[in-house]
């Protein structure tokens, strides 16, 4: 089965639409959203509604730390993010807030674990950025494959035969075999706010047959997304960084 995995959409309608349109050309058997639907961008209602529609049709939809903050849970956040969350909270209606509030932190599907950030403490939302943090996450689960987001930087970690953790910087468009001999932790890059110096939206396709993971980059209308952020009166930096991809 082909699984499409999206994370860190951050109220970016243009990026989400581009990724979903790209995925729609493929025989997707399951949609997975790893959280952080809102925050930063100017289209929280559209994004939450869209994800809710996919959830109604069986998609896995998790809770991210920005979603948690948007429903009123205190979260550690920098000033820019906090201002965006205050604005986001005012845009969302009761049904949208209720949808976010009922999202789980993790979903286990056989040998696969879905989580927004580190599996070590899903609510704490640690960043899986390097071998050390990846090791903490891998040690916290016995899942053969963990898929997470949160860092906005695509990365692939694995536990070696002798118990070492190794990291890999994946190229887009390459089907990476996740061999059954070891455990893997895939950090999926962001749909709505990439930070790996590539401004194109990122999502991933996991094919359970040959066990391959492909990171996909989709160019989208950055100018429109950025203009809406400025028009909404959100911090200018949030608009500018979309084009920088960082």
């Amino acid at each position: 089965m082909l699984i499409a995995i999206f994370t860190d959409i951050h109220s970016n309608r243009e990026a989400l639409e581009a990724c979903l349109a790209h995925a729609a050309h493929r025989p997707i058997g399951r949609y997975v959203f790893l959280g952080d639907y809102v925050g930063y961008g100017a289209d929280p209602e559209f994004v939450v509604d869209t994800v809710q529609e996919y959830a109604a049709r069986g998609a896995v939809t998790l809770l991210g730390n920005h979603d948690s903050a948007a429903i009123g849970t205190p979260e550690r956040m920098n000033d820019v993010a906090a201002r965006a969350i205050e604005w986001t909270h005012r845009q969302l209606g009761p049904a949208q807030l209720a949808f976010l509030a009922s999202r789980p932190l993790t979903v286990r599907d056989g040998g696969q674990l879905y989580v927004h950030a580190s599996a070590a403490d899903p609510a704490a939302c640690d960043y899986v950025l390097d071998e050390r943090s990846a090791g903490r996450s891998l040690q916290a689960t016995d899942a053969a494959l963990t898929f997470c987001g949160h860092t906005h930087v695509p990365a692939l970690f694995h536990l070696t035969v002798t118990g070492k953790i190794a990291g890999f910087d994946p190229d887009a468009g390459v089907a990476l075999p996740l061999t059954p001999q070891r455990r893997w932790l895939a950090v999926i890059g962001a749909v709505g706010q990439p930070r790996d110096r590539n401004p194109a939206a990122c999502y991933a396709l996991y094919d359970g047959g040959p066990r391959t993971l492909t990171y996909v980059r989709v160019p989208y209308d950055i100018e429109s997304a950025a203009r809406k952020i400025r028009d909404a009166g959100l911090p200018q930096f949030l608009a500018a960084r979309l084009a920088w991809g960082r």
Binding site: L156, H158, T160, V161, T162, K164, A166, F168, D169, D171, V174, A175, L176, P177, T179, P180, Q181, R182, P210
Partner: protein, 466 residues
Amino acid sequence: MTLRRLEPGHAIDGFRLDAPLNPGGMASLWRVTHPDIALPMVMKIPFMRPGENPLAIIGFEVEGMILPKLEGEHAPRFVKSGDFSNPYIVMEYIAGRSLKDRLGETPLPAEEVAAIGTAIAVALHDLHAQHVVHLDVKPSNVIMRDNGEAALIDYGLARHDQLPDLLAEEVSGAIGTGAYISPEQVQGERGDPRSDLFALGVVLYFLATGERPFGEPGNAREWRRRLWRDPVPPRAWKSDLPPWLQEVILRCLEIDADARPATAAELAFALRNSECVLLTERSRRTRRDGVLTVAARWLRARKPVLPPQRRSIAAQLARAPIILAAIDLGAGHEGLSEAIAVAVSRLLATEPGARLACVNVLKVSLLTIDPVADAQGRNIHLQRLVELKHWARALPVAAERVTYHVLEALDPADALIGFARANRADHIVIGARASSALRRYLGSVSAQVVAEAPCTVTVVRTAGSR
């Protein structure tokens, strides 16, 4: 994991074990059949005994990652692999003869060494173009198909530059086979396609002389000698070995990868066009380097090595393209050949590692199929070569990177396309004459080359013909 005792007639995931083959060092091999798959197949089952070398287990995993990525006739086709509790890989069984079986016949004649070397180099170029370095090229991993093509098997030590390198993460230091490992592999580098050319150089040396240039050193300490000690020149073993073959073999065995052929295609080109091999001091060498040279290299080898950078195999290939310039010679074509020279100069300026093959087609008619000497008694073929060299004299390219070829053919376009395909050309530069009603009717050479060439084609026109 349970140890399975395997017998002919057993079935694994629907594959019937027919007969065992000679086991590899790290796995047992079986001819297998499947009711739904017509392909002749072999199943590889890793030895998973307690205390087994972890390299064997990781190598099996690596092969399972890389083999499904490979296409073409130079690697076995991947069929299926098993899961964690039932590890196996099923792949195409390649009919042919292992090069290992021919080692008893060495030394082989130079022409045969060149033909085998060309086939292996072409196979390696195909792998390299697919982002894979084999890193364990040796006779037992080469199958010569009945049609003369070579296929490489066993990707347990290979590296795919777009996939995680599971071996490098587990093992620090040298991974390879003692007799064939390249100096940079000894230092832990696993991303350079020219490492395969070094190993192929060892194979060619062995085939041509019956001797191994570095013996069969057993441990990594002995492997390090490769960083400073050059081999005995092949002609010291076999004095009738042609100088061009010694030149090619010793270039492959250069300690510094930059001194080797830049790509496998370049090596195949040299082996296929032996008359074009520029003979240097290497071809005349009769003994190994002196003690001072070796001592200097030994001192250099003691320096700590920079950590290997993540280098793209594709980038190494792209640095050294083969450019084919198709030139019309003679009266009436001066303007066009001048324009082609300008276009080629621009390409060479942007690709300093490029090789240039200057090609002229001598059109023969069915009536006078053999090249005739003209009225002055000069051989036309020779005269064309002289004119080609004259044409290329001002191009910004070193002499050792240019070759000259006069092809005799009935159909110039077919000849150019065939040459480009056989020599793995990356780019053809060809002139187009002015359009005319007659040419539109007959079809032009350049149009056919554009339509059928296996690579990029630049068509040059002169200002007057636009």
